[in-house]
Amino acid sequence: MINGPFSGEANGLNGAGATFPQVLYSKWFDEYAKVTNVKVNYQGTGSGAGKNAIRDQTVDFAGSDSPMSDAELEAAKAKCGETIQHIPTTLGAIVVAYNLPNVSQKLKLDGDVIAKIFMEQVKKWNDPAIAALNPGVTLPNEEIITVHRSDSSGTTDNFTSYLNLVSPAWAAGPKSGSTVQWPGGIGANGNPGVASEVKNNPYAIGYVELAFAKQNSLAYADVKNKEGQFVTASAASVTAAGQAFAPTAPADLRFKLVNAPGAQSYPITAITWILVCPKQTDQAKAVALTRMLWWATHSGQQFNEALDYAPLPPAIVVRAEGFINAITVNGQKAFPGK
């Protein structure tokens, strides 16, 4: 239990990366400063830039919701000396947010139609493919403006991984990754960038973390899951997806949660990590970092649901504890235990 400052710890930490958990991290680090007086500075630069930053050790930790590949882990060993660890912090939903003036009903979409929209094969809102899923909704005869990420993004990685699983056309076309070859549409920087482009452009559609859709008052579609149910993105439906996957999580916790089984599971769910070098060299920073990670994976979780993120499944928290305890500074265990 961390409930106060610790003598000898650094009074500041620097992190950068994923924008997906940024809303939650802002809240966390604000609360954490109140508890411990340690100021944690986090810049939402995108997962790709975050992975580069931890590789080059220009930050104390990085945020990413796209796991580092084996090649990236190997490249990062040069500066860190060890394999970078993926410490999970929260689960969240990637929602398909849209801007349809004069349409008040919530739209329903499935993976196949979402893929066709982003491949610009379904070009208009009143396309029969969308209409078939939304009986009774008057759809406008307007062209769809798709919005995607222009930066290297874990949100893109999870979103395209989902489309890759559910749409053969997508799997044969853009495939999955932090950046893909989009057939068209506007590129925007970070989750906030996509949210504001959708908000500013009538008839636009984009994919963002749920918290960004809520903050910008964007409508978002219910998505058909593996069991054929249309599920609304929420902390509860994300938790359901997380629980479905937790037992099969690999040892290093590099895994994806998309297209989860279970009637209640939201299909486009993502896990996000804080990436750290387990071989620290600065005593004060190492203590501050491990204490912050412990707090985030324990006390911090109470803030998740209010911001529409899901708390980590208990089984995953236990694994995270193991990772935090394994962080060393100059050969000694870094975490002081409280």
Partner: protein
């Protein structure tokens, strides 16, 4: 090197030589002291002597060399870093249409195309306005209005790029989307051929919007150079036309524009050079998407500069990084070549490049 000339002969001849070599201050000094053969001592003011001069020469040489060295370093570093990607892709780097970092395929043609397309849109819009404004300032405006109008137009040049971008997002893009792109689509959507120009939804993040913001940004460059060139047209030319009974417009068409034509072309190309390299405002408005080449004005895309700005921090493997540097090399060459051409044209036909401020 004035003192060597001064020491060489009599004062009168020296003055001519000195004047030709641009040492007018030295001439004044020489006159006042009424010296001829002793000019060398006088010009050096009796202090420092040849040693001081050599020191000064060395200092200025160092500064000049630093600048030269900087340019050489930039070229060398860019080439070295770009080598990997250029070697892998070869000619496909400039002819390929697929840019996919995940799969390690890098064809920069859409970026090159985006740069050229947006710059040309900017040029086509900006040149007539800039030349018109320049003509007004030189030929029509009353003397009291000239300075304020020039000042205001040139003020456009000092507005930071990011402010143009912000204004573009907040004001220009929604305006163009609703008042230009939608009507344009309605008008041309069914016209065979021309409908290729308006494929895709009106987004307000595309080549057209980026081109319009570029037009505004390069307006002051073109205008101020065009103004200088037009004002170098000899008064006798104008008077000759007027004496033949020409109206003011005929005078401008017959005497001013033909004389200034090359200079105006140079001004436009100089504006083009600025448009090609412009980054921030374009990045905010062009839609940042590696989409394939299309004739549509409504395509979101990338320019070379915006692609570099957007992808630089993300490049997570050496090949992607190298490919982005490769784009920088192309950009450097294109801007360099365009500027060179502009200077050649202006200096050959438009007279003195120093007077035109370039």
């Amino acid at each position: 090197m004035c003192y060597l000339l001064a020491a060489a002969g009599d004062l009168a001849q020296t003055q001519i030589l000195i004047r030709e070599s641009g040492c007018s201050v030295a001439v004044q000094a020489a006159k006042h002291r009424r010296v001829s053969s002793a000019a060398r001592v006088t010009l050096n003011d009796g202090r420092g002597g040849a040693w001081g001069d050599r020191t000064f020469q060395a200092v200025t040489f160092t500064f000049a060399a630093i600048i030269l060295l900087l340019i050489v370093t930039i070229f060398v570093v860019l080439f070295v870093d770009a080598r990997v990607a250029l070697a892998k892709e070869g000619l496909r780097f400039v002819t390929g249409q697929v840019w996919n970092p995940t799969e390690g395929v890098f064809g920069a043609l859409p970026y090159i195309y985006g740069t050229i397309f947006t710059s040309l849109i900017g040029l086509v819009i900006a040149t007539p306005i800039a030349v018109g404004a320049a003509l007004f300032i030189v030929e029509y405006a009353p003397a009291w209005l000239r300075a304020p109008v020039s000042f205001v137009v040139e003020l456009l040049a000092v507005i930071p790029s990011v402010i143009y971008g912000f204004w573009g997002i907040a004001v220009l893009a929604p305006f163009l989307r609703d008042r230009l792109e939608r009507p344009l689509k309605a008008a041309l959507g069914d016209v065979p051929g021309l409908n290729q120009l308006v494929q895709g939804p009106a987004r307000g993040r595309d080549m057209l919007v980026a081109g319009v913001i570029l037009a505004i940004m390069i307006l002051p460059t073109i205008m101020s150079v065009a103004r200088e060139v037009i004002s170098t047209v000899p008064g006798t030319q104008r008077e000759g036309m007027l004496a033949l009974g020409a109206t003011k417009w005929e005078m401008i068409r017959g005497a001013v524009l033909p004389y200034a034509r090359a200079g105006i072309v140079g001004a436009a190309i100089l504006g083009l050079g600025r448009a090609i390299g412009e980054t921030m405002a374009v990045t905010m408005l062009i839609g940042n998407s590696s989409t394939k080449i299309s004739w549509s004005l409504l395509t979101p895309g990338y320019t070379m500069a915006s692609a570099i700005a957007n992808q630089f921090a993300d490049a997570n493997n050496s090949l992607h990084f190298s490919a982005i540097i490769g784009v920088a090399v192309i950009l450097l060459f294109v801007t360099g070549a365009v500027n060179l051409v502009a200077r050649l044209i202006v200096s050959r036909f438009g007279g003195d490049t120093r007077a035109t401020g370039i």
